[in-house]
Amino acid sequence: MASMDAISRNLMLDSLKEYAKRRIPYDLIRELDEKNEFPADILKEMYDRDTLGVHLLMIPEEYGGVSGGTYDIYRICEALARIDLGIATGVFATFLGTDPLNVGGTGEQKEKWLKRIASENLLVAYAATEPDAGSDLVNLRTRAEHVVKNGKIAGYRITGNKQWISNGGVADMHTVLAMAPGGPCWFIVEKNMEGFSANKHEDKHGIRLSNTAGLSLDNVYVPAENLIGLEEGKGLLQAQAVFGYTRVMVAAFGLGAGEEAMEQAIRYSQQRIQGGGPLSDKQGYTHKLIVPNYVRLEGARSYIEYTALRLDSGEHGLQTEGAIAKYGASEWGNKAADDAIQAFGGYGYTKDFPVEKIKRDIKITCIYEGTSEVLEMTIYRGRWQEHLKSRGRYYLDMADRLDELHAKEPRCGAHAAALGLRALGAVLEECRAQKLTRHQHVTFKLGRLICAAETAAIFSTAAGAQKYAETVRFDREGWQAMARVFAREAALNTAMEGLALVLGAADSGNGLADAVNLEAIQTEQKGMVADMDLVAAKLKQTFKAK
């Protein structure tokens, strides 16, 4: 679906934020976190079509929804994550659970179920994971057997166990992945069906406001009309078809929670006086704990937006892009939240300050909807193919485009980003020549380098554009400085780590130091500290002490 107009989107964001301000104060969140309690009344109210109706974003207008696009959903997910990642996960589970219907449902099924989800404020769960099948769904054990009446398949009997299901214990309906005789498929299972039960709510490290439970399906009878798409064997394809944008949603969670933690630290640092001045004026504080994190998250934001806009323009799949968006945002968000605790010192280590909870919550973004390691593999696989197909030109061509941009916009970090991409191209080529991808370690590490180098390219491109997105809260000077800091760091890491990776795995790495052009990348570091000073000042100006 294409995204909606900016005014409508921002009004929805305002309504959501205002609702949270009035109904979900931090004291309540803290209490629920402590009690490990799912706030059913709040979720129901958030789904109430006259109050908010946040779930309607995923439902097309013809079925009673508001037809949100990926960009809209990213913005809402980011805002939800800033409120509470557990509540965000509860909403996300409904988004995910609705997905198989949106992607694979017949017109009649959409008419029936999407309309019901919209009008009855149904909580939905997405039940794919099993005790022995996490990211690797090929091991699926849940079975769906035919029930034949009068020579026709009248329904299915489903038996199996599901694990780590968000909304599992509270959802009104579940989309359940099971192996039918014709292959994996999605079924709609309602909570009151005989033989269906939810296990206890898990006692988790974080996102404790999100209900997570295992499900037992003991010979649950499901009518044939509940088979999504009415065709067996399409389940995995239907699941994969949405990874591009479901991962954008989790990326938005990492971004929202990570930036929220940082912004709280930035405000705090202006009040906390140490050694005769506020922490916000001390490089030892800002340039270690704040600036690098915030810059990485803004990089992740630009990559999320780039992917969301491509999906909204009608492109399909974008699995590698979705993986890059999620991997970057969740890993950098997690690191930012960790540093936010450090930035608050002893206070950050207590539950009186929200950064402690954000740190526990955000870790899940590195785990669910594809662990970071699965994503490293996905990113590597996708781009390795591109590297081979283009005979090593993939990143060199991208670097050429960045250099063209640099000629027009010399201050957006495009040159550093181009250096990083050329270094990446050289590392990939060396891995190919020496057959180093036989080492799994090499492939996963390449996934990591690819994520940073590509994000630098997209960040610089966004910072060099004439018009900025509605989400940019800094002036041109500030945002370009952020893009430069990101691109320099990414280029240096790509060259150094790439070099170390090849030298560690290969018989010889002679000549690679020249190929990655380490000297030019080091020269490009000039001005880094001044840029970090500028970014620190802009952050202070934007997120002033309350």
Binding site: I7, L11, D48
Partner: protein
């Protein structure tokens, strides 16, 4: 009855900073909101609409993005929205703004009640609402807390120094509203926001409302802003409760800690 509500988009003043060197507002990253007093005025009008089935039309003036406050009002229940947007309006002071708004209201036709916020939080002048009434030759009641309608009687509860005043008027009348718990601002649901796109919304230029250029914008504005500067910061006062003796002990403690007194 036909009601017009005047609404303004303002920068969220809690987030606005002033550049101390240039004396200009730093707008980057500052969110725009509906002027809070206008939000109460809007709610007051919508309550009357709900009760008496009146028609509510919103009028705002500003750049194209000010459509946002008009659309929000329509999502909350207003029937129609009008945005006066034209470079000719840029830089208008309260006089020029009330001139433009009054021209637009004349174009709307028969209007029985006009609601406006008491003042906008960006300029704090409280002049535009009364200015519109003056331009239209219409009576006005300012600083209203609550408004009721009984047939053709408009009953306004007005806040005055040390008390309240209840005034009655016949239409047409302009009312400016203060904040009151009966009109606590609501925010629209996602569905209502989406549906508001289908309500009639018009953008009118200076030519559309027949406004004369000489009375608009900077050159039509008798007020000239010389300088903006933040008020000098006052030290925060600390408040203590307890008995007099406890209070004295606390003050002594602080004076010692701050080295005003020797131990």
């Amino acid at each position: 009855m036909n009601i017009v509500v005047c609404v303004k988009q303002v920068p969220d003043s809690t987030e606005v900073k002033i550049n101390p060197e240039t004396g200009t507002l730093i707008r980057a990253g500052v969110p725009s909101i509906i002027n809070p007093y206008d939000h109460f005025a809007l709610q007051a009008a919508l309550e009357l609409k709900k009760k008496h089935d009146f028609k509510v039309t919103l009028v705002s003036m500003g750049p194209p993005q000010a459509k946002s406050v008009v659309q929000m009002g329509m999502a909350l229940g207003a029937d129609e929205g009008i945005l006066l947007s034209d470079m000719a309006f840029a830089g208008s002071d309260t006089w020029a703004t009330s001139y433009a708004l009054s021209k637009a209201i004349r174009k709307i036709g028969k209007v029985d009640m006009i609601f406006a916020g008491m003042q906008a939080i960006d300029g704090d002048t409280a002049q535009t609402g009364p200015g519109v009434a003056q331009q239209l030759g219409m009576p006005q009641i300012t600083f209203c807390e609550r408004v009721e309608v009984d047939g053709r009687r408009i009953i306004a509860h007005k806040q005055i120094d040390g008390g309240h005043e209840v005034l009655e008027a016949r239409p047409p009348v302009l009312l400016t509203m203060i904040m009151h718990k009966d009109y606590t601002p609501r925010y629209p649901s996602f569905l209502a926001i989406s549906a508001s796109l289908k309500k009639p919304f018009h953008v009118w230029s200076a030519a559309d409302i027949g406004a004369e250029a000489q009375f608009l914008g900077l050159k039509g504005s008798p007020t000239q802003v010389d300088k903006i500067y933040p008020p000098p910061q006052r030290e925060k006062a600390a408040m203590f409760s307890g008995s007099g003796v406890e209070g004295m002990q606390r003050i002594l403690q602080i004076m010692k800690a701050e080295h005003f007194l020797e131990d």
